[in-house]
């Protein structure tokens, strides 16, 4: 075939195919349509793809985590000077150092973490303490119906009702996947509330204030929902 004289180049319509625009339009259409199916497909294949990718390129976001922050620098944890304080409407304000925190009853759980921007990390192994075990000794007053979680990352803060903080899987976590919480994940202590989007899971926690009612936290002041239930808030599932 190669040796046959070729037909005269390029002038018949069949010989001038608009492949370039076809590839361009098909790629754009496929990409735009993925807004409808992208996450569903990725959640099926990521279990197989992500571990391989992370092995080949170890700096890739491990198992899908992104590190979000709002201040210029991430807070640095110093075990000697770190304190968690419980203040506000309490009988006796308390201040826990890192050793005292670790001495509280330890609980472990495996839960998924959902970000409001769309990414999800499944099967995160957390260890930490229940909120009640931290605030109980401070003797909350009858007028306290909500908790104000204040981060060392100024000006980040957020609120939960006492009822929400009592959900069975709400945790103040100091370990993630078997290791002490890393700096990017909020060392040494963060709030974990799996049923709500990540922005409610305050990192670098340094103060819990008992207050009469819930107000706007950092993201709520920018238009996000106070009740950030996964799948039924912030425009999802509504």
């Amino acid at each position: 075939m190669e040796r046959e004289p070729r037909p005269l180049p390029s002038e018949t319509p069949r010989d001038r195919l608009p492949v370039g625009r076809g590839v361009f339009l098909a790629t754009v259409a496929g990409g735009v349509s993925s807004l409808l199916w992208g996450k569903a497909v990725w959640s099926r294949v990521s279990g197989a793809v992500a571990p391989v990718a992370e092995t080949l390129v170890p700096v890739l976001p491990s198992s899908g985590w992104r590190i979000y922050s709002v201040a210029d620098h991430l807070p640095t944890f110093d075990a000697a000077s770190w304190r968690l304080t419980v203040t506000g409407l309490v009988g006796s304000p308390i201040s826990l150092d890192y050793g005292a925190l670790r001495a509280l009853p330890r609980v472990e759980q495996v839960s998924a973490f959902h970000c409001v921007t769309g990414w999800t990390v499944k099967n995160v192994r957390w260890a930490g303490v229940r909120v009640a075990d931290v605030i109980g000794p401070a003797r909350p007053k009858a007028g306290a119906h909500a908790l104000h979680f204040v981060s060392a990352e100024n000006p980040y803060h957020d609120y939960l009702t006492l009822e929400q903080a009592r959900l069975h899987d709400v945790l103040l976590a100091y370990e993630m996947d078997g290791k002490p919480l890393s700096r990017g994940h909020g060392a040494p202590l963060r709030l974990v509330i799996p049923e709500m989007y990540g922005y409610k899971n305050v990192k670098w926690l340094e103060r819990i204030e008992l207050v009469p009612s819930v107000e706007d936290g950092y993201w709520e002041a920018l238009g996000y929902d106070r009740d950030a239930w996964v799948g039924r808030s912030n425009g999802y599932g509504t």
Binding site: L17, V23, V28, G31, P61, S62, V70, H73, G118
Partner: protein
Amino acid sequence: MTRYVRRFSRTERAFHWTNALFFFVLLASGLVLYLPSLEVAVGRRALVKDVHFWTGVAWPIALALVALAGDRRGLLGTAREIDVFDRDDLRWLAGHRRAPQGRFNAGQKLNAALTAAVTVLFVVSGLLLWLGERDTRLRFASTVVLHDGLFFAAIALLAGHLYLAVIHPATRHALRGMTVGTVSEEWAAHHHAKWKPQ
């Protein structure tokens, strides 16, 4: 003495390097936002996010300005060349690398078409990420998956492009076509037999 022929006009080169400049600023700022290790090391997320977003907004505007200020007819002609595949292009894609090629070979045409599509999708999904933070009606769970996927697609295209332009002995001569504008007549006759340089 080597004779040189003009392969890329000043407008084409300005268009290419403008695209490259914006792409690399977006890549660098995007990596800081995306990779946990860089985010922890660099911080200043709000600033990096602003740089990333506004560079992305300026990207298509800058390309449009280059086209408007330069030889737009020439660029339209280039787009037409990239669009049209003849039988030799299809044979080239099927593995017959001796099939005579025009100013662009079929692989270069595919790369250009895919790069243009990825650019459009980057801008659309990036705008949706930004708008979705402000209006829940424009917030889709898959936007971030698309933007991340485009990143990996763009890295693959870039890696292939850089390899062929800088490293691969048979093709790296083409780099001077995009820097000074000319390539050797002999190289052109061998790699782009159907191209008739003016």
